[in-house]
């Protein structure tokens, strides 16, 4: 039943603005070509309930979802891209490893082994936790945090002139802290 706590979830394709919002967020982190490759033969579907979640579905999955009764919408489907908010799109942890191979250097911050542990515990990081960047990032921006082997650890807000220098936004430790 539809309640305030459990609103009826509906699935639909994004409108033009929503699609633009999602694509422009992803394009901040990966090239246009990588984005095209990621979306090749896939389609975005939005689940609209208490939150608007965006999923990327292969064609067989999409066909399957469309055949499901309207009262039985899936709880989760395909690749969870993130949450659509009024003015922003928040990338999910699910998409993180799929972005890493194509990541723009100016959106990547590499952290030390100690920094990795601290970040995965949900902490913010200081200069000492960060290795020398491939490209000097002078402006504050959202970044993907990677370890010394370039494996994705989460999302952060890098602010080179402030302390802490890297604010933790979302990290893989969530799977232990909240995802169980």
């Amino acid at each position: 039943l539809q309640t305030r706590k459990n609103p009826l979830i509906t699935y639909s394709s994004p409108d033009r603005n929503e699609a633009k919002q999602i694509q422009s967020k992803l394009a901040e982190f990966i090239s246009e070509e990588a984005l095209a490759a990621l979306f090749k033969d896939q389609q975005v579907l939005l689940s609209r309930g208490r939150r608007i979640e965006a999923y990327l579905l292969s064609m067989p999955l999409l066909k399957f979802v469309k055949n499901i009764e309207r009262t039985r919408f899936p709880y989760f489907v395909g690749l969870y891209l993130g949450d659509l908010e009024k003015y922003d799109f928040t990338l999910s942890l699910h998409i993180l490893p799929f972005l890493i191979p194509h990541l723009n250097n100016h959106r990547m911050i590499e952290v030390t082994t100690k920094g990795e542990q601290r970040f995965l515990y949900g902490h913010d990081l200081h200069h000492v936790d960060i290795t020398k960047p491939i490209i000097a990032i002078n402006q504050a921006r959202e970044v993907i945090v990677v370890n010394t082997m370039k494996h994705g650890l989460g999302y952060g807000y890098y602010q080179p002139r402030k302390t802490p220098v890297l604010k933790n936004q979302r990290d893989l430790g969530w799977y232990l802290r909240r995802g169980k």
Binding site: P60, F64, R72, V77
Partner: protein, 320 residues
């Protein structure tokens, strides 16, 4: 088999079981009962499945061994390893969080191996949470095809979603619902996995409280659920489709007798699991004769196979 009640009482006291359980074990295992009980006392090593959707096996072994985690490959499962020694908690490493591996028992891996899904198939996993087998199926499907995972429990579905996300699975549709409602959606599948809710006696080596917490009434209640689930599974299969039914229970009422019930009612037959290990299913449990093809089912026992107790049966739908 006639068993001395004194012997039953002493064994029940010694090993901490309810007496009815010991009696039943004598009827099933005869003189091997003490070996069986002793086997349940041995602690089992943790096992992991390397998630080939995230990393190749060699890289994972190299990285984990550099952290002081000593692994030994499980025979005939190239991606499965026993954790022989670990200097860090195996369920909380960076690699775990990056989805490189899943803590999963070998018995449940064998259930998925018996299903042997491929990348072109439509597969359903009923009672899927927390997702060990679901993510394993996705791994064997190479993240392609369509995998529908259902579970009724809200909390457990969250864990399922978290594991699907952590292990980089993207061919899966999770539905929080009673699997009994799935056939109404008009879906049909090439393969169906039913890891049915059960009394879980097979998990005694991991959770000794089950020696006391289960009763015959639980078996009775659960068999109704299991019968319903297998009926749903058959409905969901296309002609020629494959179903694997598994439980982590020793009780024949939850295993052979459920399959026997299904064989009598539905157009299915038992086929070879293709597994290289395991004992045959019982064909005269507690003196009741079941379909002889049940010897093709496989049973795993802690005292013989050094893993949790498990039952796996592979079935084929003969016609619609």
């Amino acid at each position: 088999m006639v068993v001395d009640p004194d012997r039953v009482r002493k064994l029940a006291q010694h090993y901490g079981y309810r007496e009815y359980m010991i009696k039943r074990y004598f009827e099933l295992f005869g003189e091997e009962t003490e070996a069986f009980l002793e086997g349940n006392e041995r602690s089992l090593l943790k096992t992991i499945r390397i998630n080939e959707l995230a990393v190749n096996v060699q890289e994972a072994i190299h990285q984990l061994s550099s952290k002081g985690i000593k692994l030994e490959q499980i025979d005939k499962l190239p991606y499965a390893f026993q954790v022989m020694q670990s200097e860090v908690p195996i369920g909380a490493t960076s690699e775990y969080l990056m989805g490189w591996y899943m803590l999963q028992s070998p018995a449940s891996m064998w259930a998925v191996e018996a299903l042997s899904p491929n990348e072109t198939q439509y597969v359903a996993d009923l009672c899927a949470a927390p997702g060990g087998k679901t993510t394993h199926i996705a791994q064997l499907m190479q993240n392609q095809g369509v995998l529908v995972a259902t579970d009724i429990n809200r909390q457990r579905v969250r864990a399922l979603r978290s594991n699907v996300s952590r292990l980089r699975v993207k061919n899966t549709l999770i539905m929080r619902m009673d699997a009994a409602n799935l056939p109404k959606q008009g879906m049909t599948f090439d393969s169906v996995l039913i890891d049915a809710p059960c009394t879980g006696e097979g998990l005694i080596p991991l959770d000794p409280s089950r020696k006391q917490s289960r009763t015959l009434k639980d078996i009775e209640t659960l068999t109704k659920v299991q019968q319903k689930l297998i009926q749903v599974g058959v409905k969901l299969l296309r002609k020629g489709g494959i179903m694997v039914y598994s439980t982590c229970s020793f009780a024949p009422e939850e295993n052979e007798q459920i399959i026997n019930f299904a064989l009598q009612k539905f157009p299915i037959r038992v086929i070879n699991t293709g597994l290289p290990l395991g004992d045959p299913g019982f064909i005269t449990p507690f003196g009741q004769v079941v379909d002889p093809s049940l010897h093709l089912a496989r049973r795993f026992f802690p005292y013989k196979h050094y893993m949790e107790g498990f039952f796996i049966c592979k079935l084929e739908k003969i016609h619609s």
